[in-house]
């Protein structure tokens, strides 16, 4: 059906690559994380109740999110990379529009304005912005590969778009996404071939600017101090870091058991079903569970890398790598935040945390990655039947 749809739009499946095979390790790792995530979200929500006023309990909401995400995955599997390459500017404009809409008529929860209400559902465009931005960078790198060491022609245009999106995210505010997208830009420039000295100085300037911003924002500074001295500020800004340490530490080697974590259940850890879900994992399944989860994300990172390397064109390669970064970097930052290794950011755990848009976006990202794998491993069309596959 999709093939016919794309054909009618001018993409003839005949000259596109044929379907190869799914990356089963990648798929299995992601699905395992989704399944585990549902368990921990259930445990975390039993108490915190992500949406107590909603008509449906948080567990069923989560199930709905996963179902929508799987649908998005299937859709993404059927979108050829060529369509993405040609279509991403449209997506960029569309996302830009949605982001503006959020700032104008967005819904506010907990002091942040990140959501668009569509009937009974809410949409968080910034989650989809990440994918679109990843595709944009992939397109940018594949077109301007040779210019990436030139500040004016190579880096500034990318920087301007990033700055625009970052500004809109900062207004929501969603500093976690600003940092994540910044990290994505920096890592993509690294793989794009930008000289490390140039990149280093850019990153250095940005970090300095960021620090200045923080110092002039007492709230952010307090949060930074809270991260640095959780014990001393446990009643205030160090609250979450201090409590995450207790929640994680009390898990021990084997954990308290699924649904048995007392410390998070007593409400000492706000956002335990989203930004601090990893702490729940750690409390209930202990270090062993942490090891398994980390291993699964590592599998995603390595399989993603393999797909990127196998890709047959620049755009697909950079897109695959960007998608890999988008699935693994937030996971790493999320876990590091929970462990007090990084200041509090507000990033969810991909595939696992509660949150509809994030779940749909993560599974769509996985779908894109799998599509790129299918294309990379498809038997080439025509006489050139090499030793590939």
């Amino acid at each position: 059906m999709f093939r016919r749809l794309w054909a009618s739009l001018g993409f003839d499946p005949a000259d596109g690559p044929r379907e190869g095979e799914m990356d089963l390790a990648l798929f299995g790792a992601a699905m395992t994380l989704v399944a585990l995530g549902a368990l921990f979200v259930a445990s975390a929500s039993l108490r915190s109740g992500a949406d107590p006023d909603g008509p449906v309990g948080p567990i069923w909401m989560h199930a709905t999110h996963v179902a929508s995400g799987l649908l998005a995955l299937v859709v993404a599997l059927h979108v050829p990379s060529a369509a993405l390459r040609k279509g991403y500017p449209v997506l960029v404009v569309l996302t830009l529009f949605l982001m503006l809409l959020v700032l104008l008529v967005g819904e506010e929860k907990g002091g942040a304005k990140r959501w668009l209400a569509i009937g009974p559902m809410t949409l968080q465009p910034s989650e989809f912005l990440k994918i679109v931005f990843g595709l944009y960078i992939a397109g940018y790198l594949s077109r301007r590969y040779t210019l990436l060491n030139d500040l004016q022609t190579g880096i500034v245009p990318l920087g301007v778009l990033y700055a625009g999106f970052a500004a809109m995210l900062a207004l929501q505010p969603d500093i976690g996404s600003v940092v994540l997208l910044g990290g994505l830009v920096a890592l993509m420039l690294v793989v794009g071939g930008t000289r490390l000295t140039l990149l280093g100085s850019i990153v250095g300037v940005m970090l300095a600017a960021f620090l200045v911003l923080i110092i002039f924002s007492p709230e952010k500074l307090a949060r930074l101090i809270g991260w640095w001295l959780p014990e001393e500020t446990q009643a205030g800004d160090g609250y979450q870091v201090f409590n995450a340490r207790i929640v994680i530490g009390s898990g021990g080697l084997f954990g308290a058991g699924l649904g048995q974590g007392v410390h998070h259940a007593l409400g000492y850890l706000p956002q335990s079903d989203t930004d601090f879900l990893f702490a729940v994992v750690a409390e209930e399944t202990g270090w062993v569970g942490v090891f398994v989860v980390v291993l699964l994300y590592a599998v995603i990172a390595i399989r993603g890398l393999a797909i990127a390397i196998r890709c047959r064109d620049e755009f697909s390669r950079f897109a695959a790598f960007a998608m890999t970064i988008l699935l693994t970097l937030p996971a790493l930052v999320h876990m590091a935040v929970c462990l007090g290794l990084l200041p509090t950011k507000g990033l969810v755990l991909p595939f696992m945390s509660y949150g509809g848009s994030a779940m749909v976006a993560s599974l769509a990202t996985l779908g894109i990655l799998q599509r790129l794998h299918l294309e990379a491993t498809a038997r080439p069309v025509g006489p050139d039947t090499g030793e590939v596959a």
Binding site: L187, V190, V191, G192, G193, P218, A222, T233, A235, G236, D237, Y239, R245, I246, I248, G249, S250, G251, G252, L253, V262, H263, L266, G267, Y268, P270, A282, G286, W287, V290, F291, V294, Y297, A298, A301, I302, G304, L305, A306, A308, I309, R310, C311, R312, D313, E314, S316, R317, F321, T324, I325, T328, L329, L332, M335, A336, L339, L341, G386, V388
Partner: protein, 616 residues
Amino acid sequence: MTGLSSWWIRLKRQADGEGGLRESTMFRMTVVVGVLVVGFGWVLARAAVYQVRDHEAIERDGDRRIQDLVTVRGERGRILDRTGRGSLAVTASSTSAVFYGAPLYVNRGEIAYSVAAALGLRAEDVLARLLTSESFALIKKGLTDTEVATLRRLDLRFVHLVPEPSRLYAFGSVLGPVVGTVLDGRGNRGLEAFYDRDLRGDSSEMRVLRDARRRGLIESGLERPESLDGADLVLNIHPQIQFHLESELEVKVEEEKALGAMGVVLDPATFEVLAMASVPAMDPNEAGRVCGEHEATDAGTTATADDGTNPCRNKVISFVFEPGSVAKVFALAAGLESGRLRLDTPVDGHQGSCMVGHFPVTDAKKLGVVPVRDAIKYSSNCAMSEAGRIIGAEALRGTLARLGFGRATGVDLPGEAAGVLRPAARWRGTDVMVAAYGYSYSATQMQIATALTAIVNDGVLRTPRVARELRDPDGRTLRTLGPGDPVRVLSSRTAAAVKEAMTAVVMEEGGTGVRGRPAGYTAAGKTGTARLNRRTFARPGSATKPHIMTFAGFAPVEDPRLVVVVSVVAPQVHPYAGQVAAPVFRAVVERSLPLLGVAPTPERTTVGLEGPGGGQ
């Protein structure tokens, strides 16, 4: 290492044939993912530090934070009058809204606005309170049920509802010093103290898990907290009699410019305390302030130095004085019981002037040789001193001791004084003569009333009781507080004879107690005007020597229903108890007997009130 490099070569070869994969790109991608994997390793290492190395210490900290022992206290029982309906003391659990636990960055303005809207306060005022302290602020005390419900629904973080039990005394100073007070959940005065263990109820500790808002989740099964509630205490106090007694005493204190007064009403059949009053009396609702002042001024003095003005003391049981002429009836009882006196035994009144030892004694009424009965009726000290000599120290002291002098009556109140009744071996010379008209030993009004009640009760003594029973909160009787075992202290004949002599004091013309004769009722009694220590009770500018004026009596004579003893401390207007205390007795009897269902009979004689009617 070789595996890794062969993988690398294979990847390179794989890529070389295709869409221009640069080796540098491949290398950089691999390095980036490598850095990510190293990051994951860092996460695992850090998690191991928390979960393996520090696990025990962290778990201990965490458990200490969430586990807590909570003391659950039952609600303090009520204190009820004898009808079981009038609540003298109740516990109201009021709720306060309190702000605490908020980090500095939390917007206090927002909280103040929400709370102010819910409680009908001005947001600026609430904010000012929140800003006075970084950590803790009382927002409002005594919330109404609606306000509590509103706050519960809002469930504002950092705004906590704190229950505060407070003791309320519905009748204020009425019976105040008897009911007593509670300090920090413990009764510290009066009945609140005496029955504290029963009223307070039980407390029990329960293990709870504390959630992040410090709300407790009960962790282990426990007895139901309702069963911890304290018992209700039902008193024998008759509310209207109490009211009449208090108001009559208050009026008298004012009229006589006295320092104070006290009175007690007993049921002679049961020794139930129907009323007990001290004037001035504190309001237990304000005891903290009032009694604090008095205790501060009393600090350097002894308990007996109370000049009668301390509103926090129950003078009925704590004010010790030489009873004076009132006690002549006890001497008469001793004489009759020993067989050395009969009502008609002649004694010499020495025309109202005699020497007891080296002390000159004068009487208001000049009597010659008269029967003992008349010595009581006219209250002659000279005649009674002679009677005392006839009775003898041993017999007099013995009877006084049996009637309860020299030891506390055992009434159910704390801080009861016992007075002083020296052992017979230490009575010397004229002591027995002095004791016969009420000096050389001391007593509380409670002792006098109890001894008199024993006489009225045909010579059988029991322990007086203020409280009747303990009930559970549902009104079921838990324990009946009886009057104690009856002890016969006088023969029935002696009791009857003493009653006869006392009846003459009130009912016969010329008796010192005629002003105590109630309209429509018969009554019996005895006046007593006793000296008080001059230094303690003298007031600057006062010409009169300080006396305590007592009237102890009962009514009706035929079938006594009330024993009433009233005393006025240091009155300044009239010199004799017959003028000061007897009218109080009369008023109390007149108002109380109808309440007990005893109707007055139409006036038979006009009461003649000629003569001073005084009595020493």
